[in-house]
Symmetry: C2
Subunit: 426 residues, 2 copies
């Protein structure tokens, strides 16, 4: 590569602006760290033309970046799966190196992109797609590469973690906490992707693909968000010694089967994952040789994410980027041999929550489950008013289907609104 790297930047949102500023302001330092001059020569965005220096080309159509012969590297920060996908494919086909933060696209179409990159001997790097300030992609591609990765437990969405922390600290319900997150800039105006767990599922699909050397499997990932978690759920969990976190997990089982899922989970207050609060992300990885490794850092925000984008750019300049894109390997015939099991087959503990009438005071908690095979290891209750009580019990380890079946069979004249939340043990 020549001693100057010319960059086309697509997207000028919060991250795009940070990337622009870091590359402009730190030009000297970045040159020292890469032996290359890194220069943004063109930007494409819908608006914010005034943000960009007058000597930088400004395109309304991001695809124009592909046909700008001056450009070596395209940084895609548009997001979504429409124009961003077109842009990346065209870029790879036209021998532009690509940096992206687009987790949705990688989770859904990452293999298609990897195949195209491979055919064109191209570069596609994506550190910023998962957990902004934590270099977890490079850790999976390089630092942990000698290991089979068996299990991943992670908090991958700062918005959800902020909301759950607010609900816990302020003992308030989901909606006011969401509002607060929006006011403080920790949640978007349309927070659906975050609060429904979809963003988290995109990210665990990417990590699982790297961990297992298979295609990202977003489609089969079980996804449950945090919108149904209440202040009372959190209160009972707390009384029992747990916090509730939106957990992403990948767990190898026997026979090449895996559990790959996103759900709110009870995690012991003593466990390090439960101590990761606010907008922070964390990833706990279990590997064959290193045992366990735990990373914590900010998951989103302009600068933390931009820092990962610029790290990818320096990797390109220094030729230290991984040529392996996701789990894709052109030499492997079957890239998709892992089977994701149904969530009903999960084997673990559960918090069962149920409402009942306090006046039925002959009712012992244990008696509720007397006909089931479920053992009650711990119990705790909240009195809602003079007649209503919510109780929670922690079960022994069960196949999830047993829990579902048991709740179906409960005597509805006694138990109302029974539900469960998974408990994670490590």
């Amino acid at each position: 590569m020549k001693n100057i790297i010319k960059i086309g930047l697509a997207g000028l949102g919060v991250v795009g602006k940070s990337v622009y500023e870091i590359i402009s302001q730190d030009a000297e330092l970045l040159k020292l760290k890469s032996n290359h001059q890194l220069k943004i020569v063109a930007v494409s965005a819908k608006t914010a033309k005034n943000f960009v220096a007058s000597d930088v080309k400004f395109y309304n159509n991001p695809l124009d970046l592909v046909y700008d012969n001056e450009i070596d590297v395209i940084i895609e920060l548009i997001g979504g799966q429409d124009i961003a996908k077109q842009l990346i494919i065209s870029a790879l086909q036209n021998n532009k190196k690509v940096i992206t933060a687009n987790k949705a696209l990688l989770a859904c179409c990452g293999y298609e992109l990897a195949k195209i990159a491979n055919q064109h001997n191209g570069v596609l790097v994506y550190e910023a797609s998962v957990a902004g300030s934590i270099p977890i992609i490079k850790a999976y591609q390089q630092g942990f590469l000698a290991n089979k990765i068996n299990k991943i437990y992670a908090i991958l969405n700062g918005t959800c973690n902020f909301i759950l922390s607010e609900m816990t600290n302020k003992k308030q319900d989901f909606l006011p906490s969401l509002k607060q997150a929006q006011t403080l800039g920790f949640a978007e105006a349309d927070p659906t992707f975050d609060i429904e767990g979809i963003d988290t599922a995109h990210k665990i699909s990417i990590l699982a693909s790297l961990a297992s050397n298979t295609a990202p499997n977003f489609e089969q990932t079980y996804i449950e968000g945090i919108t149904k978690i209440t202040a009372n759920d959190i209160k009972i969990a707390n009384q029992l010694g747990y916090k509730i976190k939106l957990l992403a997990t990948y767990q190898q089982q026997e026979n090449n089967q895996v559990l790959q899922a996103v759900y709110p989970a009870l995690i012991s207050q003593q466990h390090k994952i439960s101590q990761v609060d606010g907008s922070y992300n964390c990833i706990l990885t279990y590997g064959q040789y290193f045992d366990d490794s735990f990373f914590v850092g900010k998951g989103a925000g302009g600068n933390p994410t931009a820092s990962a984008v610029v790290a990818d750019l320096l990797d390109i300049a220094n030729n230290t980027y991984s040529k392996q894109i996701l789990g894709y390997n052109a030499n492997k015939i079957n890239n998709d041999e892992q089977k994701i099991i149904s969530i009903n087959q999960r084997f673990g503990q559960y918090l069962i929550l149920f409402h009942f009438n306090k006046l039925q005071n002959n009712l012992a908690i244990e008696s509720v489950f007397k006909d089931s095979q479920i053992d009650c290891l711990q119990a705790s209750c909240i009195e809602l008013d003079e007649t209503k009580v919510i109780c929670g019990i922690i079960t022994n380890k069960q196949i999830e289907q047993n829990i579902v079946d048991t709740l179906d069979l409960l005597d509805k004249s006694i138990i109302k609104e029974a539900k469960f939340i998974r408990v994670e043990t490590f």
Copy 2:
């Protein structure tokens, strides 16, 4: 590079044996991950010849590996600064790529080695030198590379952390805890390098070199080990809400000055570093753009360290290794412009511990320091017997020299055995 990489392994200790086993047993998996066959063709060790397969050459003199024309990569796991240094220099001069875990050598002579590597366009990689299972070297070389790293706080010696955890949990003194660590294999027969903080200082010198783009500066690193910490120190710290950890720290100050030191420190029980117990290591890094990032994992042991060695080997095979060796840059004229301040200039809080006679019961703790400028923020005491008391006070932030001077001036007829332990705030 050809499709087979031939390896010479020097050293068959715990890590060497693990490396040998991983490369032998996982040959197929490693080939998939690197598109290369990785083959150990020669081993050098003092003993353990029987450990090695009969088709592998066995040399008594490690320097013979350098003159074995078949070998592409030499893995140096001998340790120390004598033969290991000769081996690495000869290897680089003879166009062998080098992987080492030798923190003592890198901390003391890393720049000399980097210069030689640079002259010969050679490869010198060393992920296993710091915090075995945590890929912190690669994170500093790649993931965090867009950032100026301002501050590092780390636990880098599993032996010391294990001993301090034992002292805390079992309320016992240093020596029986050291014995226990030795029995369980967490401390060596001669534990000097570990318990005196020297090993930790080697490692923080390496991290600081990477963080600051300057030469490793082990010589000027302030080093204080854990041998003088007592069960009573830990008890008082605990009563005040702190744990005691052997902390390695690098903190940029104004005017290109840095504090670079290793010392036992009080860390709030609420802080994530204090929750890292047993033989685990951790590194908390503050960067300009990512804010803070925290990594936790096993710091030593055969497999965790070997996993890092093999990761370096895969980096060589995949051409993803960093060409930047420590902070060395051939283009920079002044590679050493950072000034490490004297520990006496540290500005921070302190736990002052002092013995006094309980019968002097008119003595209020505050009065001890009445003539100094030290404020007592918290205090806690232990009665040793009917006459003796140990008290500890937490001071406000002070220049360390003030603390030293104040202790010198204390009324020796009242106060005996006054000492201090640093308190770290973040």
